[in-house]
């Protein structure tokens, strides 16, 4: 069964949705930290990579699935906190460009450490591999992970939305990302808000690590690097400064890459990165605040 016009089958569409969902989570993770620190965390993918290695090791040691996931969260959250204290805080107040180069350095550092520890061949995370088996829905085979990914991502986004809209710390985070200095003058504790944003961003990275390892069980030091680059592009295209535009940007780019990557013949789909990044440049030139940011504030990226 196919959508005849576009030559896209349902399987491809479902994969695109799943990738879009995962990228949306990464986009929110990057966007939350940008909101409170004005820092684009280039090393976000390495958080995912660290979580993926945790899962791989856990499955190598024969740990049960839940223990592997706990380890993954523990490792990613610990690394996030370390990154915040050793890198983000000392960098506060530097120009965005300096911070970008610095997180670029951190990304390479973490990747080199992984290379040293685990070698370039990587490890295999097998414990959740059963999710790769298909469910057959009215004649269409859909891998379980695509459905799980979409549901998990939707749940995470819903929880995040409730947190931002309904809780005090959520309100403080929103205010801090709109006008940090005024929120401090009102008594919003800067460090608490930043730590909170970093932790949520880390938790999202851990969720992403779990879902990406199901799709790509082979974990290498450059795991999630390409994904991060594409998500960064998506976040910029969507609008870096606000959670919803960032999410939309991440989802769109993930969905588009997933669907086009599956539907186009290889001799066209191999040029997908070129189209994506040309789009990034165009958006930066024409709509510096992003396609989906309709707010009236004048701040630019």
């Amino acid at each position: 069964m196919t959508l005849a016009i576009l030559n896209i089958d349902w399987q491809t569409l479902a994969d695109g949705l799943a990738l879009g969902a995962i990228y949306a989570l990464m986009a929110v993770g990057i966007g939350l930290v940008f909101g409170v620190l004005r820092l684009v965390n280039f090393a976000y993918g390495q958080l995912v990579m660290a979580g993926a290695f945790a899962l791989a090791l856990a499955s190598q040691w024969g740990w049960p699935v839940w223990a592997g996931i706990v380890l993954c969260f523990a490792v990613v959250l610990a690394l996030s906190v370390a990154m915040e204290h050793l890198v983000f805080r000392p960098l506060r107040g530097h120009s965005p460009a300096v911070m970008l180069v610095a997180t670029f350095a951190v990304a390479f550092l973490l990747q080199s450490i992984a290379l040293l520890w685990f070698g370039s061949l990587g490890k295999i995370a097998t414990s959740l591999a059963s999710l790769n088996r298909p469910w057959t829905l009215s004649g269409v085979d859909i891998r379980k992970i695509t459905i799980v990914a979409v549901i998990v991502a939707a749940l995470c986004l819903l929880l995040l939305h409730l947190l931002l809209e309904r809780t005090e710390v959520g309100l403080h985070m929103r205010a801090a990302s709109m006008d940090f200095s005024t929120s401090r003058m009102l008594g919003v504790r800067a460090n608490r808000v930043i730590s909170f944003a970093v932790l949520i961003s880390g938790a999202l990275a851990a969720v992403v690590a779990v879902m990406l390892t199901v799709q790509t069980p082979l974990v290498t030091p450059d795991f999630a690097l390409r994904d991060t680059i594409v998500v960064l592009a998506g976040v910029v295209v969507g609008g870096l400064n606000r959670p919803i535009p960032a999410t939309l940007g991440g989802f769109t780019i993930g969905f588009a890459t997933g669907v086009l990557g599956g539907a186009l013949p290889t001799n066209q789909s191999q040029y997908l990165p070129t189209f994506v990044f040309v789009a990034v440049i165009l958006v930066l030139l024409v709509r510096p605040r992003g396609l989906f940011d309709f707010s009236r504030s004048v701040e630019r990226v």
Binding site: V40, P90, P96, L109, T274, I281, L285, V301
Partner: protein, 341 residues
């Protein structure tokens, strides 16, 4: 050109490195040659980032284009079908000499930078960082699959290895001289004025956009030349002119201090020295009678820590953006000490 002494220190350092290299064993000489090529790349980076204060992740694109240009035109025609089976007809039989290939590499780098710069030089700050990064990714993607203009995923084997110590040193000195002349020219001074104070520069009629575009083009020219030198040194492939090289050269510039020509050279030499020494140590070496056998990958970690530490603790770099001047005695002249902003 009164301040010729600002040129002297970087050139002396390059010549010293070359002389030191000529004393080293043949196997270690490669490290020195490689370092000198990196000096060219980092000086190219400095011409734009140092003078404009705008970040660029895209310069390795121009290095790559320079490497592709010089490589495609110097692979012996008899061997072209083997490593570049899908090469376009008009490139298949073209062949040029070493110097011509380097000149063409520079020209291609310059033209590419000019064309890319026309839209991109309107951006600054974070937007410039991300847009130039996009340029890097586009170049990488196209060179990877566009087999009509190069080897695609294969390496540029059988390019004549003409970049020895001498050619690398000459190339580095050429880049330093060009960078110096540019920085001292009216254009360079206007651009630095815009870096210090945008409003003031506009008030005296300097077009920030035009000045940045000039710097970007000059810097693309030098990056192209460096790419030519690089492909004549070792069999370059598309991955050797991508993220790793971008990271390493930015680290060199940042560690040395992006605000000065001397900083660019010092940073390159310092990072290269550590990097090469660790690379040797990874293969096992003995220091003061101690056997040292570092695991592979230590060099990258040390360089990463250095770069992050310098950015966090001393964003103006080791030289603090100063130029070393010789005037009777050695004096450090304070210029604006600012990291890429």
């Amino acid at each position: 050109m009164r301040r010729l002494d600002e040129l002297v220190a970087p050139v002396v350092l390059v010549v010293a490195a070359a002389l030191l290299g000529s004393l080293a064993s043949i196997s270690n000489q490669t490290y020195f040659t490689d370092t000198l090529v990196k000096v060219s790349i980092v000086v190219a980076l400095y011409v734009f980032i140092g003078n404009s204060g705008v970040l660029s992740f895209g310069h390795i694109s121009f290095v790559a284009l320079g490497a592709w240009t010089a490589g495609v035109l110097t692979v012996p025609p008899s061997e072209k079908p083997a490593i570049m089976p899908n090469l376009a007809e008009f490139l298949l039989h073209r062949h040029v000499g070493n110097v011509t290939s380097l000149a063409l590499a520079a020209v291609v780098g310059g033209i590419a930078a000019f064309v890319v710069g026309i839209p991109l030089m309107r951006l600054s700050g974070l937007a410039a960082g991300i847009a130039t990064f996009a340029v890097l990714e586009i170049t990488y993607n196209l060179l990877q699959y566009e087999e009509r203009i190069g080897p695609g995923l294969n390496a540029f084997s059988s390019v004549p290895e003409t970049t020895g110590l001498r050619q690398a040193a000459i190339g580095a000195v050429v880049c330093i001289v060009v960078a110096f002349v540019y920085a001292r020219s009216r254009f360079g001074r206007l651009l630095r004025a815009t870096r210090e104070d945008d409003a003031a520069a506009r008030a005296v009629g300097a077009s920030v956009y035009r000045q940045r575009l000039i710097a970007f083009t000059v810097s693309g020219l030098l990056a192209g030349l460096a790419g030519g030198l690089y492909v004549h040194l070792l069999p370059v492939n598309v991955n050797s002119v991508h993220l790793d090289l971008t990271f390493l050269t930015l680290a060199m510039l940042v560690v040395g201090g992006s605000g000065s020509l001397l900083g660019a050279v010092v940073g390159t030499l310092a990072v290269s020295a550590i990097d090469s020494w660790l690379a040797v140590a990874e293969n096992g070496t003995s220091v003061f009678g101690l056997n040292l056998d570092l695991p592979a990958g230590t060099a990258e970690i040390v360089v990463g820590v250095m770069m992050a530490a310098v950015l966090i603790l001393r964003p103006s770099g080791l030289t603090g953006g100063r130029e070393l001047r010789l005037r009777g005695r050695i004096a450090w002249r304070g210029s604006a000490s600012r990291a890429p902003a």
